[in-house]
Symmetry: D2
Amino acid sequence: MSRAPNTWIITAQCPSRIGTVDVVTRYLRESECYITELNSFDDHETGQFYIRAEFRPGDGFDGGDFRDGFQPRAAGFDMQFDLTPPDYRPPVVIMVSKSDHCLNDLLYRHRIGQLNMDIRAVISNHPDLRELTEWHGIPYHHLPVSAETREQQEAQVWDVIQETGAELVILARYMQVLSPALCTRLEGWAINIHHSLLPGFKGARPYHQAYRKGVKLVGATAHYINNDLDEGPIITQGVEPVNHADYPEDLIAKGRDIECITLARAVGHHLERRVFLYAGRTVVFQP
Amino acid sequence: MSRAPNTWIITAQCPSRIGTVDVVTRYLRESECYITELNSFDDHETGQFYIRAEFRPGDGFDGGDFRDGFQPRAAGFDMQFDLTPPDYRPPVVIMVSKSDHCLNDLLYRHRIGQLNMDIRAVISNHPDLRELTEWHGIPYHHLPVSAETREQQEAQVWDVIQETGAELVILARYMQVLSPALCTRLEGWAINIHHSLLPGFKGARPYHQAYRKGVKLVGATAHYINNDLDEGPIITQGVEPVNHADYPEDLIAKGRDIECITLARAVGHHLERRVFLYAGRTVVFQP
Amino acid sequence: MSRAPNTWIITAQCPSRIGTVDVVTRYLRESECYITELNSFDDHETGQFYIRAEFRPGDGFDGGDFRDGFQPRAAGFDMQFDLTPPDYRPPVVIMVSKSDHCLNDLLYRHRIGQLNMDIRAVISNHPDLRELTEWHGIPYHHLPVSAETREQQEAQVWDVIQETGAELVILARYMQVLSPALCTRLEGWAINIHHSLLPGFKGARPYHQAYRKGVKLVGATAHYINNDLDEGPIITQGVEPVNHADYPEDLIAKGRDIECITLARAVGHHLERRVFLYAGRTVVFQP
Amino acid sequence: MSRAPNTWIITAQCPSRIGTVDVVTRYLRESECYITELNSFDDHETGQFYIRAEFRPGDGFDGGDFRDGFQPRAAGFDMQFDLTPPDYRPPVVIMVSKSDHCLNDLLYRHRIGQLNMDIRAVISNHPDLRELTEWHGIPYHHLPVSAETREQQEAQVWDVIQETGAELVILARYMQVLSPALCTRLEGWAINIHHSLLPGFKGARPYHQAYRKGVKLVGATAHYINNDLDEGPIITQGVEPVNHADYPEDLIAKGRDIECITLARAVGHHLERRVFLYAGRTVVFQP
């Protein structure tokens, strides 16, 4: 499951057509790349094709040349592709409010190198999580927000994202609804954790909703954000059994672990280029 | 977890008040009953109290006398109670349509004595499952239904339930919406299996809904029926991971096992008197 | 996950070497086969390579020609490969003793077409499961066995396997230890279900061992048989939580479902050619 | 599940005898204590009885008087009992080596008040985890150990335990085998996390053992320590699916979450007085 050192990743998707696998694998062979793991899937409902390969390059391999060489072949299939080097460690911005369990979990995994990313900043609309963040040596941006100031605050948020060069934004229990404008800008590269099994219990206080409903399972859903609140494409979901003796505060406590794990898995899959987005749904090649 | 031979069950609920446990346990002691398992729970949100005890009676124990003796004490607490003898094996009617996985599963558990009930009849709006049912020596009632004939058909259904003396009705993938009148009659003693994690994906074809949504988990919910479609009090829920490669027919196939297990657990809990109903939610004392 | 109609499967393994993927995918392309799902894995510990592809053939595709054409290319990589047609439905023999839950489950999945196999015979050392088997229209061979008669009985077992042309033998709770000779003959194409999480609780009465140990989880392991009792390569494992109130008979009851599901998954993976055997371990390309 | 404010806990166990429940519940009633949650269990294999009650005391309740008053009644049943006040927050010592995931997890839960204990010290045979520990304001004792110095080092360990008044010792991946003398002293109040599903893969490097065996599940076991290495009474177990692509380092990474959660649950159950020890096994009244 873990990538061996010096292993590159190529991912691609395009409309279904004969030869979509061969165009990738043959080029890898011709480039003397050794494929260590390969997955492809053809969705006969949507007519879309997806492929992901991990490979060890041959001597004198040059990513730029490889990309240039593959471009015309990919074009012939309307294929969009990405090439990810072994040392890829994208800049990331995390957004939080007051709850710190997901942040604490991400910072820990980041610190031990389990999540291969470079957290450049933590943004919060509250001051509470500064100490935790700064102990990990990461800048903390306290950007308060109100109905009146949302536009300006989101402009500040966007500045931080731009300045850090973030390629991924993680909403780790950020309890503010983003404006359509910002959602549009972040579409496809911002992951949110919602503390329910979507589509159940959208919106505010899902654990209180779950308590009133009397469910016997609670869960968490990690999804890309888009312009429909809690409706973005689902990446991972996790679940936890509960019972009649669990009051809302118990559901909140029991839910923490599964929120952390579900978000961390989604982020890991994203970083490892295992997630493909198409038509409001995801294809995830499990490790 | 399994009841020892000659073990009775007493269950009770009433408004929260000091002494609710003692009124039960003291009477059991005075009656020289030996408690093998006891659970009580006081819900501070609803102010309702629940208790369940399994016990071995003393010599010369008589259920009727025990009941009569406890009645006045219970009355002092507005306590409703039930006494269940060791050999309790209630008459049950199962309703199905064409899908046979839940029926097959229930008939199997019934045959090996895992579910302590006496299946007196299977009712279906289709002829398909007659052979399976009759091989188990159980009468099969084919009662076709249409929009026009629903009232008459439900009258026939009710006749079967009455004639068999059924104390529990199991809707094991019965794909017809019951009339409010029949729902009201069955409230609290009819268990339905819905093939989604309620409240997500209510109504028709939940696996197709789940596919379109792109969820990464599917599930099943066993609940008592009431007058709100798929809104009755939840007894048990089960879940199964799925992925992008699962088309609706795959979700249907993957869901079968969890539907069977979730329904069987709910029925087992009901038969063992582990389920309490109050204000649209359940209290379930897990084995 | 389910195979589309007219979809073939090619599986192959060989020592790791550059070009192992390309030799398969290029040939598929040249044969105008359309790959709908592809998985490959290179094990850098063992230096062994594994690949599985589902594909829709082009017009006038002939399996024999395809095989012949690929043979020399495969030979260049010391590659062993299998080609599985869409209508592949191998003859299977099931062996049981007295417990019927796994048999009942397999017969049900067989009947509804969930497991794509042709059960030709059920062999048992007891008469008990004849009626269940024959209701499904499958011949039942009662072959009693004792320490003295084991050799003759196994000869009879082997005759049945031979006569039915079985390509898979399923030990669905067959409670006899097979002789080394028979194990050797069945190595790689006989799947056994053991009712514990191997390597824990090998041998007899694992649920009683688990009870004495006071574990909080019980499980089941489906594995290929070999000459080491309960030591064969593991295909799938399943688990179920238990607690202090579960006596051995409760563990047995709670374990039934997970035994059935674990065995059925292993059989399904085997039939779909998702399982590869190498050096006492398995590679399983999950659906 | 969470205790309401001002809720006490009484736990007791004794040999099975009629009246064991009543002696507790009647006394609670006479003391005008209101029982909010009650569980009792009678083990017919061992002939041992267990009871746990959470209760709100009446006005002017005095723990000492309550204890004194119950003592003679308990004595009549050879009943050992404990009374736990609402503000009970026992001193705890955590022992670690170099792996920090369980420590990080416990410190986090401690910080947010999810685990109701007072961590007085962290002891390690390595210096690595000092910074993490001290950031949480907890003293760190680096006590190196070698085969030669074990006796002296354990004497120092015992001094820390004594000085802190620890009532619970948590071995959060402490990778040293304790001497029989120290095990005996800690028996029943020291919880260890072992990174396998015991009794499978005892001893060193269980994930490497699991990899070689080719299991499809890895797990963790939290247990009380005793004089048999990895043989102590099991409190909780957790499990995580793995596959052929998981090398030992992947199993180690995948196992971290389940180790943390399994240990935290065991500690929580212990702190909430839900765990009873008898004859090498545990009774755990689940929340």
